[in-house]
Amino acid sequence: MGARLQLGVTHALLIAWAVVMVFPFLWMLGTSFKPAPEILAFPPHLVPRAPTVLNYVRAFQTAPFARFFLNSLIVTAMSTGVIVATSTAAGYVFGKFRFPGDTAIFMLFLATAILPLETYMVPLYLTMRDWHWINTYPGMVAPYLVMSFGVFIMRQYFRTALPDELLDAARIDGASEWRIFVRIAVPAAVSAMAAVAIFAAIQAWTAFIWPLIIASSQDMYTMEVGLAFFQQRYTIDYGAITAGATVSAIPIIAVFLFFRRHITEGIAFSGFR
């Protein structure tokens, strides 16, 4: 009896806490579908009484949110593609071969993950300026072309899950190393590559300070940067602001709900970078 009561109390507390945690999201969603008078209504209520999509229409009309969304998609796709490729190539070599300098290069890759981008963004910005990469897509993805954690995941995968016998059999058949990589290693590693892709995509989509620095004209803003400027400009239009916020948050939330098992543990393990 005591144990049951205790369990009930535990669940009650956890549910109460879950309400607190999820409330800002519900409030965002609720506000974004409320007509203007309801947004400022007192006392406030969560669920819109006369739901409307006008806030979304107004947001997309007053600011090029469609363009911001497209920019975020482009930046995310570029970064994800390159990170998956570089992580797979490097991870395969580190996982399956011994060669002079292998440990040193691998440690270098991992060690750079200690320092966040903010410590070296100033010189990186100057390099982008010298290359005329300011306000360009390559400039926006420059710091997001490699991912230490991605290399690590792929190395672990190849080391533990891809049998050497498979590669040796192909070698005996006379296949070149490159051919073995493309035809055997890559197809076998698709699931690990997908995991790397998810992390890379979340990282690129949620990036803020770097696109804020690099994108100098509105047509290059990502969703995050565009939303930041939008809320500065239209401070009081919380209907349109929460509509923009919802559009910016939904893709990541969707990815998270879909792949959550991989994500929670992977991110807890790496903390990104």
Binding site: T10, H11, L14, W17, A18, M21, V22, P24, W27, I39, F42, P44, T86, S87, A89, A90, V93, F97, F99, I105, T112, I114, L115, E118, T119, Y120, M121, V122, P123, L124, L126, T127, P143, V146, V151, E177, F181, I202, F208, I209, M223, E224, L227, A228, Q231, Q232, T235, T242, G244, A245, S248, A249, I252, I253, F256, R260, I263, E265, A268, G271
Partner: protein, 310 residues
């Protein structure tokens, strides 16, 4: 790879072919690493080194001369009121956010680690703020904190608490950012705690149960000591993250234009402003070097903790 075949000529021949194979493998390996290594060097290693180098120059981005000033930037920095404010704000922010986030995360992790029902759903909801982009979150919190129409002041009024001008003065703004950041980072710490708690061998907890230890006493005398390395690790990781705070501050409390009344100056914001608003590249690099030192020091602590655990 080694040959055990008798007969010297055959062995020698094979060794030669082996080395040729090895050579072609090395070429393959270095070829595969060429692009990744180049990216790591160009976009990470070189900028890191350049931060340190740039910090001893004075440069405004436009002029051709870039005079060497030695440690002058650091001297100015230490006397700079903005920098002092940023450092103290960031430290206060980190201390409060980490303390609250670690304690709350541990509180929710304790029941969740025991695999009770709906554990997955709870974890999902608690982790959601961490994974969601910070800009939309900060924007929504700004609306929640609104002094006149914000839902937080309304909820507080139900408890009889008079309205708070959350984002209207520096002190309350700092608290507003702290509360939002605790909400955001808690789920991450929770996952680490759950992993740590589940790694505690069952014999220990069973022994404790036989001894009749329950509730708080059980936690104090058994769980907490065994979990201490994880607690330390989570604390250090969170502290590094907290010193890195920027986005929510930028949205809620940094830009005079965008935030209603006040500025909470934090380290990254100060670097950002010096570099990209005032174009003081050398000065900003000196500041980034200080940040660099803080992160490095915390990381060394983290490695010590990790080593002591294994």
């Amino acid at each position: 790879m080694t040959c055990h075949t008798p007969g010297i000529p055959a062995a020698a021949a094979r060794r030669r072919t082996v080395s040729r194979v090895a050579l072609s493998r090395y070429v393959f390996c270095y070829g595969m690493l060429l692009v990744p290594t180049a990216f790591f060097l160009i976009f990470r290693v070189i900028p890191i080194v350049q931060t340190l180098r740039l910090s001893v120059f004075s440069w405004d981005l436009i002029s051709r001369v870039k005079p060497y000033v030695g440690l002058e930037n650091f001297r100015t920095l230490l006397a700079d009121a903005n920098f002092q404010l940023a450092l103290s704000n960031t430290t206060a922010f980190a201390a409060m956010t980490v303390a609250a986030s670690v304690v709350l995360a541990l509180l929710v992790a304790l029941p969740l680690a025991r695999r009770l029902r709906f554990e997955g759903a709870y974890q999902l909801i608690y982790f959601l703020p961490f994974i969601t982009p910070t800009v939309p979150e900060a924007v929504v919190w700004k609306w929640i904190y609104d002094a006149r129409y914000g839902v937080l002041n309304y909820l507080l009024s139900l408890l009889g608490i008079p309205p708070v001008g959350w984002l209207l003065e520096p002190r309350t703004t700092l608290w507003a950012v702290i509360i939002m950041s605790v909400w955001k980072t808690l789920g991450y710490n929770m996952v680490l705690f759950i992993i740590g708690l589940r790694a505690i061998p069952a014999e220990y907890t069973e022994a404790g149960l036989i001894d009749g230890a329950t509730g708080w006493r059980f936690f104090r005398s058994l769980t907490l000591p065994l979990l201490m390395p994880t607690v330390l690790l989570v604390t250090v990781i969170s502290t590094i993250g907290a010193y890195n705070v920027f986005t929510q501050v930028y949205i809620m409390a940094a830009d005079i234009q965008g935030s209603p009344g006040s500025v909470v100056r934090v380290l990254i914001y100060d670097i950002f402003e010096n570099a990209f608003r005032y174009y003081r590249m050398g000065y900003a690099s000196a500041e980034a070097t200080v940040f660099f030192a803080i992160v490095l020091a915390l990381t060394l602590v983290q490695f010590r903790v990790l080593r002591s655990r294994t």
